[in-house]
Every structure is written in structure tokens, then in C-alpha cells.
Symmetry: C2
Subunit: 440 residues, 2 copies
């Protein structure tokens, strides 16, 4: 049974809790559940809908949020045990989603401090990919992906600093969107990197991403970056004639063969659907160097956000060491890292000019087993959009070997979020697109 | 006699050298002159033009560049005596301007290290405002403004980190443009701040700014930020109906009364010409806080650029102390400064949406006497465009008291440089515009 609006909100919510009870002992996607408030919200939604007063496409749908997004009354733990003071108010996104009728049922496991991509969390458990036992769901929003992929909730929120929404979506066969920087208010988010972080939705289809984005977006007086206007022109009604930039083969040499094959299948299907593919290069882009610059900035900004907590209890030694490295970094070296970001943001702006989007694999490999070495380049393709402040949507692609799905992302020009979602809906029926098919 | 293309290039060049000989002993705008190469270039230009093979509107016109822009065979001194190795190649802008036929006649005095706005240079002399003895021409491109205002050359190049092109243009009654970040290659510029620096022209009219910008712009393989496409739509043909954002009175409280009066005269003339003025606020903009963030970033990046030279000879104690402060800065504090820049850049993007430009005074006061305290807020209005990466043009406004001119700037959306120049040409005949009238 897939949770959706074809059932009552009470039924959807009870189904969610039942599924959590059944499977989350193994998966460990949830950190906290909120049965009382969720059931009350579900009853209120059902009353509204019965009265013909639905608040829109999210009214009554259960959801959950990564544990670095404030929920009133709960500590915002960020995947640590360092923080136990309950938040006094909802984050802006949670408040807006509740106001749209969505039913918050809990908070989700994540890679500690959002600084890593396996969600093998030392305090809240090793989160498991519902598609394959012992495999990572990716991260840092690993719980956000696992909860959706296991059918516990139809959609979740994660946060994406260098790929932390898109990578777990890719590993778990989901759709996800990292919005344009500034489009979604970050008030109530405990930042890893205020330069790079964006809150984004994960779901099983593109339409849900669009509904969640619409409910979350818009200016927020408490977030000075959320004032940018949200319009992005007319959403395309067909793929015919859309121009997508694609990297040359050299840019993809570090990819797993299955990812390359799936990417080729996907781009071929776009051509068959009438889209125009254009070889595109982002000048000066060195994925590894960019990732290292983004990591340093995350360490510096993360340490600044956590302040004295860096020296307190509740952090792992590894995470503490990274933050300590950041706060001790030489000023000139930090400035060089920001320079790399600025240069690449401008090069991206040039590269995407005249294109609907740039298409890349989401990650160079598929999900991997916990207890195997972590591939160093997981965020090589995703970090580009964070640095550019651009929106990027990931979608799941069938692997030729029939195994775990692969994924591609479409990075759009800034503010093209709604177009990206519309394009995703147009792509959803293409043959290479992987269709989530979780066990009911 | 005003130097222009109504005379031969040889005559223009000789006039330039004669004027330098006559007045620059007092003004101290020039650091180096290049009589041999300039005369050869002038003769070549005259031969081309006699053959009907002019290279365009700059062919034959003398110009000079700030001494932080590389000229082959000359040290790039940056207003210090720390650097005496001759540059092996022209900066990209100098090479492009020479290729357009312009005649380079020398390099110009500047505020030491480009970090300050009086051009009271301890090594190369106190540069004087040609409009008023003992007064500063502003800075850091003070020599670039003084050389034009004194009629030594028709146009020059400066660099603008937080206002260093526009402030001296304002103090000397000139027009100047800080281009969109990335539009003009910075290869061969010794940066103060790679985040904020832009090379821009100073001249006596808007059309010259446009010609110089066109010759300098465009991708340069050595500058990863110069790839952004340069088109900016159709230049307006009339001021009627153009929408300009103007600040509310509270944003201008720290301005000298003469500046407020001139600004009112200018905005009134725009309304009379059919433009629409819209009250506009850039959310979260605190000019003083932004200036301090920009200063810290300049100190950090400037120290990183100069490297070991910070500890060597040829810098003043004051400049060295600022760089030393920068290189010792705490990483988290540096990151906070970049955060302020990012937030404001996004707020600017929101504020300018739907506008042709935002109009502000260029500086809160007019030129002031050397030996009087330096007003702390000189860059309060100019730094906004550097942080936003947006183009800004300054134009001179008549002061009601008949004294030194005031100035206003128009900040455009990113990539609107050509539109700004076209708008400047439309504004050039408005009654409050100050007309340069130097002694011949």
C-alpha cells in the first residue's frame, strides 16, 4: 500500500507509523516520531477535506524532516547528541508545510553534522538502504531517502550542501530537488555551510517535489537570502527542442561502468524524445578540487555555527577533528577556497547560458556496502550546483544489470526550479527511468 | 585643447606628454611615461587612419593605466616600491586596448596597494585633485581620475574593489564604469581582492566608457571568470518609462547636504525626463557593516596575493599592518565576512528585479582636503555593486553651491553594462549633469 491522498490522512498516518514500526528497527531512518501531534493533524486534515476545504496537494500527506531542521518542542540534534534543548519554534519550512496541511510524523537520521555521505551514524544508528541490506542509503540526508524508499512516508525534507539531498536520493532510487539558493528560507536550519546549504525535498515523483517546493518557497523576513523572486517563466510542455548540455567523455572517466551505461541510456532517450544535447564544458571545473574547497568551507563554517559545542560532548572524534581543522584554518587558504567557488559559479553561469539545463550523473557510482571504503568522489558531480547556487533535480535511472538504480541530475539556471520540476514530469515516463517498486 | 580624434594621434600623444610636463609635477598622476612606444604607436595609428583602416573609436587615442595593471616591460608596482621585476607580458586589457589602436602613454599613481581612497601615496607622491589644489582626487584609482580631469589623457583604466574607480571619478567630476564581475578579464591585474576587484574605465563622457568596455570585454582563457556571455539585450533609446529604484531618505542620512541636494536635482531631472522612480530597499543592507566585511576580505586576499612581500621592503607600515591583520584573521570570522557578501548579493538580486537600475549617490561627500580626517564612509554606497558583482556607472552632478561636483551612480542588474552606458548617453544632456570644463 503506497501512502497517498487516495486514503484518508488518518489512514495514511497510521500506515506510516505501522510501516515505521515494522521496518525501521532495521533501517533506522527515524530519530523521533510524533504520533500524538501527527494524529491530531491528520484528523484535522480529514475534517477539512470532508468539508471540501482542502489546503492543496499536500493536505493530509505524512512527511518527516532531517534532524537539522527545527521542529518546535524537539531538539535539533544534527545527528549528534550534543544538543538537547528543544526548539522553541518550527523552522520556516516546517511551519509552511504544516500550514499547507502536511502531517509531520517525525525527524530523520542523518550523517553526523551533515558532514559525510554514508549515514553510518555513531549515535543514532547505521541507516540502511531499503533497496539492499547492509548498503548505505547515502547521505548526509540518508534517513530522508531511506524513509521514502521504504515507503514509510511519501516525501521528506533533507539538506544539500554538496549533494546531501541528491546523493541519497540517487542511491535509493528517488527523485529529489536541491532548489536555487535563496528560494527556500533556511530559518531554523542548523547550518553546516551557510554558503552551500539548501533545504530540498525527496519523493517518488517529480510532481511531489513541485508541490513541496511551492509550499516552502518565498521570502522570509528572518532569512535575508530568501527575498529573490521566485518566478522562472513558462514551464515547458514538451521535451522537443529543449537544449541540454552534456559533459564530454573525459569528464566522466571516474564513473562506474553501470553509471556510464545508464547515463547513455538516459541521454539517448532524451534525444529520442526530441531534446537537443549539446556538448558543454564548465570552464576550469576540477571536481576534486571543488569538492576539497567545499569541504574546507563546510568545516570552517560548521565550526563557526557550532561554536563552543565543538569542544563539548556529543560529537564523534572524527567530526570534532574536522571542525577543529576548519576553525584553525589559515585565513588566506580559506579565502582561496571561496575564490574557487566564485570562479566556478561564474563559469557555470557562462556554461548554462542558452541551455535548459546541464545533465550529469548524480554520483559516479551507485550505493555501496557499509564497511567498504567510502568512494572519495561521491559529491564530485553534485557540488557544482551548490557552488553555483543553481537548482538541480536528480532522477533514478534503470541499471542495465538490473541491480541498484543509477541516477542523473539536471542542473538548471538559477531560479529555474519550477521548469526543472515540469521537465521532470515530462521525463517521468521515459523508458530508462527507474520506477520505485518497494515491497508493500 | 581637448585631446580627441579630431586631431592626429601623434598630435594627441604630443599634447598628452606636453600636458603631463606642464602640470603633473603638481598633480602627480603619473608614475611612468612611455614616450618612445607611445610615439611609435601614434605614428602607426595615423598611418592606419590615413589609409582608411582605422581600428575603431579608440584608434589613436592616448590612455594610461593604474599601476596595478601589468604593462610589458614595466614593474607592476601597486603603489609600492616592493616590486621591481618588469612584467613579461601585457595584462589582457592592455593588450586588447593596444590591439584596438589605443596609445598607452604610461602608468598611474594610486593609493598604496589599492587599499584606501585618498591616493596620498608615500612612495609616488600625494596626488592632487585637478579641480581644487590640496584636495584629494579620491582613490584608490586617484591617478586615473586626476590624469583625465587635468586633461592629460582622455580616458584611463582604474580598478574598483569597493569603489576605487567610482569614488575618484566622483571627486574629479568624471564618468566611470565598474563593469559586471567577470565581464572584463583580470589577467595581469595584481589583485587586492579577487572577490571584489573589477577593472573599469574613467572618462569625460559615457560614450568613451562604452568604447573602452567593448574593447576590453570578452572571454580570456587565463581568467576563468571572464567566460560569462556579454550580451545584455537592447539598449534603451529613451529614458521615458525606465524604472529606477531610489533609496528612502533614511538610507542617505550620513550624506553631506550638498550631495543630498544634487541627488534630489538629479532624480527630479530623471522624473522630468519621463523615468519612473520607485522606492527601493536592499534587504539587510548595512553599508558600514558591509564595508567592514569587504575591508577584511581585502586584507585577507591582499595578504594572500602579496605573500612573502608582506614581510619585505617597500610597503608602508600602515599597509603592512593591514595585510598582517588579514593574514592572521580567524577562519570563522573570515567566513562570516563572506557570508555577509553572499547575503547581500542575493538581496540585491531581489531588489533590482524589474528595475533598470538602482540610483544612489556615489559617495556620501565630495572631495576633501588632504591633511583633513578621511571620512570613514567613502565606500558606503559603492561597495554594494562590488559585492553584487553588478555593473555601476558614476556620473557627475552639479552642486548647488557651484563648488566641487557631486556624483550619482546607477547600479544595474548583472550583465547590463551596455544598457548602463546607453542610459548614460541619454542622461548626459540633463540639466544637473556636470560638464567637465578643465583649463586648456
Amino acid at each position: 500500500m503506497t501512502i497517498g491522498l487516495d486514503m484518508s490522512s488518518v489512514a495514511a498516518t497510521e500506515t506510516a507509523f505501522a510501516r515505521i514500526a515494522a521496518v525501521d528497527g532495521d533501517i533506522r531512518a527515524f530519530v523521533t516520531t510524533l504520533p500524538d501531534s501527527a494524529r491530531a493533524a491528520a484528523r484535522a486534515s480529514d475534517a477539512r477535506r470532508a468539508a471540501g476545504a482542502s489546503l492543496g496537494p499536500l493536505d493530509g500527506l505524512p512527511f518527516a524532516v532531517k534532524d537539522n531542521i527545527a521542529v518546535a518542542g524537539l531538539p535539533t540534534r544534527c545527528g549528534t547528541t550534543a544538543f538537547d534543548t528543544p526548539a522553541t519554534a518550527d523552522s520556516t519550512v516546517v511551519a509552511r508545510l504544516r500550514a499547507a496541511g502536511a502531517v509531520l510524523i517525525g525527524t530523520l537520521n542523518m550523517h553526523e553534522g551533515a558532514l559525510g555521505a554514508t549515514t553510518d551514524n555513531p549515535f543514532w544508528g547505521r541507516c540502511i538502504n531499503p533497496l539492499k541490506p547492509r548498503y548505505t542509503p547515502g547521505g548526509s540526508s540518508g534517513g530522508s531517502a531511506a524513509a521514502v524508499a521504504a515507503g514509510m512516508v511519501p516525501w521528506t525534507l533533507g539538506t544539500d550542501t554538496m549533494g546531501s539531498v541528491r546523493i541519497p536520493a540517487a542511491y535509493c532510487g528517488l527523485w529529489a530537488l536541491k532548489p536555487t539558493r535563496g528560494r527556500v528560507p533556511v530559518t531554523g536550519l542548523v547550518h553546516l555551510s551557510w554558503t552551500l546549504d539548501t533545504i530540498g525535498p525527496l519523493a517518488r515523483d517529480a510532481a511531489t517535489l513541485g508541490a513541496v517546493l511551492a509550499a516552502m518557497s518565498g521570502p522570509d523576513a528572518a532569512d535575508p537570502m530568501s527575498g529573490v523572486l521566485q518566478g522562472d517563466g513558462t514551464a515547458p510542455k514538451t521535451l522537443v527542442g529543449l537544449r541540454f548540455g552534456v559533459p564530454d567523455a573525459a569528464a566522466l572517466t571516474d564513473c562506474e561502468p553501470a553509471v556510464l551505461d545508464a547515463f547513455a541510456d538516459f541521454t539517448s532517450s532524451l534525444t529520442a524524445a526530441g531534446a537537443v544535447l549539446v556538448p558543454t564544458e564548465v570552464a576550469g571545473w576540477s571536481p576534486g578540487a571543488l569538492r576539497r574547497a567545499g569541504l574546507l568551507i563546510s568545516e570552517v563554517e560548521g565550526a563557526e555555527v557550532l561554536g563552543a559545542a565543538v569542544d563539548g560532548p556529543g560529537l564523534s572524534d572524527d567530526f570534532r577533528a574536522m571542525l577543529d581543522y576548519g576553525r584553525r584554518a589559515n585565513a588566506g587558504r580559506v579565502a582561496r577556497a571561496y575564490q574557487q567557488l566564485q570562479q566556478l559559479a561564474i563559469a557555470f553561469e557562462a556554461a548554462i547560458h542558452g541551455l535548459t539545463g546541464i545533465i550529469l550523473p548524480t554520483a559516479p557510482q551507485r550505493a555501496f556496502a557499509h564497511d567498504t571504503p567510502v568512494p572519495p568522489g561521491q559529491a564530485d558531480f553534485t557540488a557544482l550546483a551548490n557552488v553555483a547556487g543553481a537548482p538541480a533535480m536528480t532522477l533514478p535511472i534503470i541499471a542495465r544489470d538490473g541491480g541498484l538504480p543509477c541516477a542523473a541530475q539536471i542542473i538548471g539556471p538559477r531560479q529555474s526550479d519550477l521548469s526543472l520540476v515540469a521537465i521532470g514530469q515530462l521525463m517521468q515516463g521515459l523508458p530508462p527511468i527507474w520506477q520505485p517498486d518497494h515491497k508493500d
